[in-house]
Symmetry: C5
Subunit: 315 residues, 5 copies
């Protein structure tokens, strides 16, 4: 039971969308519930514990003359601050969502960057450039896998690269410090060796420039969290608010207090936790799937190029 899987993104197709849009999405799912439980028990248990303590105090100590600590009008401070808390939680989650979405957009753009690079290489390159074109297609796939290795901090090239790069190329790539940088340098030199006009070469190269733009954006999202002071203050606000909640609820809910506090705690911590889990999106997004899709599309394009050309030039 790996509770982190709760936040893994999967790739959607028509079937998933149909399920997603139907009313059945509101049904509780057995396995997911267990994962949720595995995630949220620490704060929930803590608040239940506070609630029980408050109850015990009220039941056993107060009749002995201990000062009253739970009163109906203790709810006022919670009402006054619930807006600020809700706004903080939702805005923070939204900032994380923006980061997650930016990472997803960057990986989505790798699709058009790689496709355009191969499309233009095959259309504009001289027929005599066959092997060089193929090499460009191979290294185009390689820069995407190199980016994945870089973001997941893996040192070994994945198996999917074995039929793309030659053994000595893989070996060289693995021993580089900054693999995406190194791979784009190879690609740049290969594009330079292509027999196309200077202007066309620069256009093809501009997709490598775009790749670097995406690469830098991914590195930024990886190395820079949302200001930790912000994250910590939200956590502090939430923890203070939920810890004191049983004091305000007890006079109304008596021994239901732990239960009610636990539900509120779970709902609010759930919002905060989503924000934290998707803040660094590269563990959450299905990068291997994206890489495989790009590899497949590039190979398809290479395979159908001759037919496409024949179709365009038929007379």
């Amino acid at each position: 039971l790996n509770s982190h899987d709760l936040f893994r993104d999967t790739v959607y197709g028509p079937v998933e969308w149909r399920k997603h849009k139907s009313w059945r999405r509101h049904f509780p799912e057995g396995f997911v519930c267990l994962q949720v439980l595995a995630w949220y028990w620490p704060p929930v248990l803590f608040v239940i514990f506070v609630g029980v303590l408050v109850g015990l105090y009220h039941t056993y100590l107060q009749p002995l003359g201990a000062p009253d600590i739970t009163r109906d009008d203790y709810t006022q401070p919670f009402t006054l601050t619930s807006f600020a808390l809700a706004l903080l939680l939702v805005f923070r989650t939204n900032s994380s969502y923006d980061r997650w979405w930016e990472a997803r957009r960057m990986w989505g753009q790798l699709l058009n960057i790689t496709r355009n690079l191969v499309r233009q290489t095959y259309a504009w390159g001289d027929p005599a450039d066959g092997p060089m074109k193929e090499r460009i297609a191979r290294w185009t796939i390689a820069i995407v896998y190199a980016l994945k290795m870089h973001l997941r901090r893996s040192k070994r090239a994945p198996n999917e690269l074995l039929d793309v790069l030659l053994p000595h190329e893989i070996e060289w790539l693995e021993k580089q410090q900054h693999r995406p940088n190194a791979a784009t340098q190879v690609l740049t030199e290969a594009v330079k060796a292509l027999r196309v006009s200077d202007y066309q070469r620069v256009m093809i190269d501009s997709e490598i420039t775009n790749f670097h733009l995406n690469l830098a954006a991914c590195e930024r999202l990886f190395s820079q969290p949302i200001p930790v002071a912000y994250t910590r203050h939200t956590s502090r606000f939430l923890l203070t608010w939920t810890s004191f909640l049983p004091f305000a609820l007890y006079s109304r809910f008596q021994w239901l207090t732990p239960f009610v506090s636990a539900i509120i705690t779970f709902l609010l911590f759930g919002v905060e936790n989503i924000g934290v889990q998707i803040e660094q999106p590269f563990e959450v997004l299905p990068l291997p799937h994206f890489c495989a899709a790009i590899k497949k599309h590039i190979l398809d394009m290479v395979a159908c190029h001759a037919e496409a050309k024949a179709l365009a030039l038929q007379s």
Copy 2:
């Protein structure tokens, strides 16, 4: 009665806008009401059911000494969390709206991409390039239909393509894995064969690059939902909140409770559901209409090109 039609977008013209902006928009529309009913009955019925149970318990079991489960001051937890719930609902709907709007912008940009491609081809191409120009116009229409086929996962070319592509071209397109990719490869080769200066060719080609950008964005919106943990937590929050609502309302509303709870449930689930239904916009947007409009505009431009040229060069 297909309740999904409730979320289908239609194309607006001056008449629709006049109606849209008048006060009559607030009148309930008979048929739409039925569709709404068809959508929202499950959660509404569930909450009514809970409300009736609470009422029965209060009426028959409580006089027999069963513990009190509905009290006036049970509303506090709902007040404390209603901000967070409302914010979650509206932010989620907004994120979906942004996705929907991005998809719409992408399809709107297909208009200028295709127009510029054809405009430049016809203006810059050599007079001797007539057949090639026409072929480019035809394949420009084809890439848009190919995109629609791709997003709707349809395997057969629509009838509207029959008078655009030749039979063997349609056949070839249908048997491709990734139809938009294949179609742009044909288009690229056709542009390459045009007798224009290298620099102009690259400019025309840059619109194909733009098409790929839109294509990748559409694929991203299709394959990537908003993090499901977010969607599920919102659903969980909403369901918990509305399920317990009758307990808090009963002491005030007695047997009106099921009715009042049902209205609140309908209003809040309505917000959430809009967010989910427009999250994947390609079933909701009128893609066939967009394709037909692009086809019509391209054919118009081809038809009036000679006159426009004459007008520009008259002396």
Copy 3:
């Protein structure tokens, strides 16, 4: 008294801004008040009507034993949903505002598109190209008016075009299906006939490409409203909320209820209505003024070009 004028935008200058920023902006303006009244009477009257009915029921039927329908604690459901309602209203208005602002930006960009087109044509064009330069300036003005005709669905060229285009040009333009498309085709051919280097021609043409980008954006804003399910649900939420309001207010306000409900209804419907009225901005924005400004600036630039050139080349 055309109540729609309430939402017409006017062009601001220093005088208007001074008035806008002074405290006097809070003073009620007599004529505007009438327009407001003309707009908002239907829902306000409806809610007053409900309020009066509730009052009559309470005064005449309840003493006869009719069940109590107005109680002080009926306000709870309104408090619980007022956040969601307020957020919906304001977010919807904001989405409309974003559309309005995009439309305004698009028309603002026509200024730099047309100026750059004419500026580069006159600076780079061969001195022998005089008549062609003038023709480009004329058609640059024409594409803007053609866009206005297209968005306002007017079939006749406005009088302001009479001294810009020649009669047969106007006639040709009027009989086109898609006038902005046709006009840019003429302009493209005219730019093609200019004696400039290939590279410069492509740069001038890129402003026509930018025009098409704006054109497509305007067409998108015109033909695509915010999802109607969203608009309708907001309307439904608001109408339900205000219709039931008198029931909750009566026990506190008695015969002031219709008055208080009417004010709240007016304030909330006012927010919603702004959102709907600026959703399709082309009836609201002063397009004729924008066109006239562009025409004037282009003619000014043509007129002062020779002096500017002399100033730049003086020795």
Copy 4:
């Protein structure tokens, strides 16, 4: 005591930031308080007046049998609408902030536009082009001042231009209708006369194109306020809300009512007023400072160009 200075922006350096970030920012500043007083007295005084009237009515007329107009439970309508009011105020302020920030970005971009224009002119221009390079540097400074004159509607060239342009150039500029347009035409011709390759000329010219983009954005922000219906409705909402506030507060605060109402009025009107004052940012932003900074940077770049070149080419 010019109360408008309250909203003037100043340029920050390390010293200002240190003060800004310290706790002392919360101390009331004597002079600013006076300015604030000078701004907000009209609505505050009005609400105090209403509060006193309500008090007098309650003290003198109600004991005589006048109907009760202040009751404790009159606060409900204010609670129900306070979210909508707060959202309206803050969203409106945010829209103004976005406009202000866009204007600031536009003026910030003038820095890189002018620097790149001069940098490329000096690096790429032929050594024999000395006087023309200098003329380009001079007119680059002039277009920025022309933009300031245009946005502030001043007819006379500022003194800072006297040592940049020659007297007859200033005279010519002053008599133009649209000064930034005219100045860029001179600059365009000067760039055209530069002995650089066609391609480089077009790159330098593209910075003039960027300047026009900024110019059009500034004109848009100047001539287009946020929809006045929006502004007026916010004002109406706020005024209605605060005017009736004393009726709800009196039963709780008695003769403290005017004081409490005044504070709330001041706080809420303060939010609205910030939004209105920064809505048209060109009176608020320190344009003269921006112009002077650009002038200084351009002159510095011209001065150190020879040294930079020597450093780059040393062997």
Copy 5:
């Protein structure tokens, strides 16, 4: 104990993310707590002081007949304004966050700007250009350090530049007024001296243009705070609200009032303070780390270029 360190950003790697995403993030950290205390004591102490005064007044003066200043229903004004306050706080924090994020993005983009500049220089430059390529790599590193010096207002070149620039180059750079401007002029001349085609030179130069875009954005963020009227009004609102809070809480919390007020004050001032501390992000972001990373990457790329070229051209 430098309390400002509370807001310093650090660079995250896999280890930090693992810690960041685990539940342990909610545990209070000893040292951070001290820093927090060092920051927030002034307003917290002030509110405690007010709370104690209110308590003393109520305990000693009120029994002597002093007028009652604390009543249960004094909470109404706080409830009515808590939305506006919370929205102001969170929106302001969000505006600051956007500035912080823009600054971070700008520094992230320096990565791709510098990499592309060096990548293209090494790939396209003539083999005979060896020393000039190296000089370009050196000055590419220098412009980044020059930007850091400029934003931190340091007059001395950092030690990290000693092995990048030659002594006389450092000396020259240090005595410039605007160091990034001067450094890019050197770089421009070096790129001009490269033996590449005109078109390629312009592409390389365009990365210097991009650098200027980032530079201007950083200068804007440094010299322009969020409108101070906005900041001051938020501070005023918050201070007024928290100062009067004890009057409303006393009747409920008696001698717990100072404690409860202190917690609320701390939570709300915490939100405001985050917004102010990250408003000018260049003291908060780890600029030295960014510069070192860029230097390392550039040197790596230079080092592995020959191998990458061999790999691309192998046959």
